[in-house]
Subunit: 294 residues, 2 copies
């Protein structure tokens, strides 16, 4: 009976009951009151259906990249992505999709040259500090459900690159990308991209549909042959789907007491598996809890 | 021609030549002198051949977990892993392999209850500091080719959990695991495990053979049905393979001037893609360069 737990939960603990039950972060999420959750708006949900049946759901972040997100909504609504594929998968980095090197004209409503929405004003954000040092910015924490880096002194904040983050492909600077080509992070958070690219959201369901794809063998993980491209059946906003078919999600309110407890436990694991709590945590190791509504 | 580069290299830069060529970390690796590389000993290479033809090569770290590594060598040499499989793949976490819940006796040379080799003395390690804050330890850097965290004050160092790190599965503390069940990290570095588990090495080739496996749908990513287990054809040390078949690798000397330049550029990207160098870097975002020898 040798097996590795790595993460234990109450349900999995077999044998003699422990003397005292120490809460895990998962326990906190499971016991979160209804008030600790916030519904995600249907027009902030981008539903990517692969032709093979897999579904990836992305939460958009209009608070951080409003012009790029408006573009993405216009692209989805106008069928721009008909014929889109996943054409690049680089191990420990990104999966990228869109039309790839297409000259298809932008549909109405698309700003062809958006501003560089790499940071926004810190003003108006309700920050819950991480409480640990961040190597990439003076400050790190959570704002309205999102992991952010910030400078209180300079007054900026940015949405960071963690596992699952979705950003806008672009060419060399000063190009900022339009939103037609998107990528999702499928490895260790490439935080060096922060403030150098527009982050527009995060995958909240089905990331494994991207992370398990075969890696491309060309430079930067591009697939060598078009036959390897992974076809996408449709990309829609949940708000444009038939009422009975719209998926629905809630994210934990990062300003709630429940989230504060979750964050504290992520930095100080003291349940039965751990013998040395770290006393600190990496921003990308505190994934904001998200749950699907029935 | 809309495509996302995210990482540019000289070879990929098309169109007008840039006014000046700014080095990327990849350029530094490509131009590293022979003296910046160190051969990896054949008995430190564990070769995992999947039944489907894929190969994963792991570099062992006897400097950090000598008893566990001695166990692993004895297990490999005595055919303990005959019939082994990958039986757990948890997204953004680990792929785990071994015999799973077996009662097969340990072969000769295996210490059934190894000490908790979660840290070692800082003494004897030649540290190249990361130069950035680390949320998990007072110090972070590189020692003899490995990413480490450490406390100069308390005198300990530990091998950390980054993408590709290999550790020893164990049950609840104080069990330390034996080495029969191993895992490789396939997501954002779960640094909360540092100093709570024995890290014995890292995948240096073929990690995508693990990272692309279907995720298990049971708790903790265990596969539901044994039919889903991924069979392993053999696990051998390179030193035990026929001379002509032994794979051979070199890792960059983390004490070299070349590595110092590489590290500096990882923290300060100023090539044509980047507009804002971070001025800092996460330990797990500085992967020590490794190359296969012909």
């Amino acid at each position: 009976m040798r097996s590795l737990l790595l993460v234990t939960t109450a349900a999995l603990m077999v044998g003699a009951a422990p003397a005292k039950k120490l809460l895990t972060p998962s326990d906190v999420v499971a016991g979160a009151p209804a008030g600790a959750w916030k519904a995600i708006a249907a027009e902030d949900l981008m539903v990517v259906d692969l032709a093979n049946g897999g579904r990836v759901v992305i939460q958009l972040a209009p608070e951080f990249a409003p012009v790029h997100v408006a573009n993405i909504r216009a692209l989805a609504r106008n069928g721009y992505w008909n014929g889109a594929t996943v054409y690049r998968v680089q191990d420990n980095y990104v999966a990228q999709w869109g039309l790839n090197e297409s000259d298809k004209p932008w549909p109405a409503g698309v700003t062809a040259k958006p501003p560089a929405e790499y940071t926004r004003s810190l003003k108006g954000l309700r920050i819950t500090p991480l409480g640990s040092a961040d190597p990439y910015a003076p400050g790190a924490g959570f704002a309205d459900g999102w992991p952010v880096a910030y400078s209180a002194k300079a007054g900026w904040a940015d949405l960071v690159h963690c596992y699952g983050s979705v950003g806008v492909g672009r060419d060399l600077s000063p190009d900022t990308g339009t939103g037609g080509e998107l990528y999702a992070v499928i490895g260790h958070g490439p935080r060096q991209l922060d403030r150098n690219i527009a982050v527009v959201g995060r995958v909240i369901d089905g990331i494994d549909r991207f992370s398990t794809l075969p890696r491309g063998t060309e430079a930067l993980g591009f697939y060598k042959d078009k036959a390897q491209y992974v076809p996408i059946a449709s990309i829609r906003l949940a708000s444009d789907m038939p009422a009975g078919q719209q998926p629905s999600y809630e994210a934990m309110d990062t300003g709630s007491a429940t989230f504060a407890q979750y964050l504290k436990l992520r930095a100080n694991r003291h349940d039965d598996f751990y013998i040395r709590p770290a006393g600190g945590v990496d921003l990308c190791n505190v994934q904001v809890p998200v749950r699907k509504k029935a």
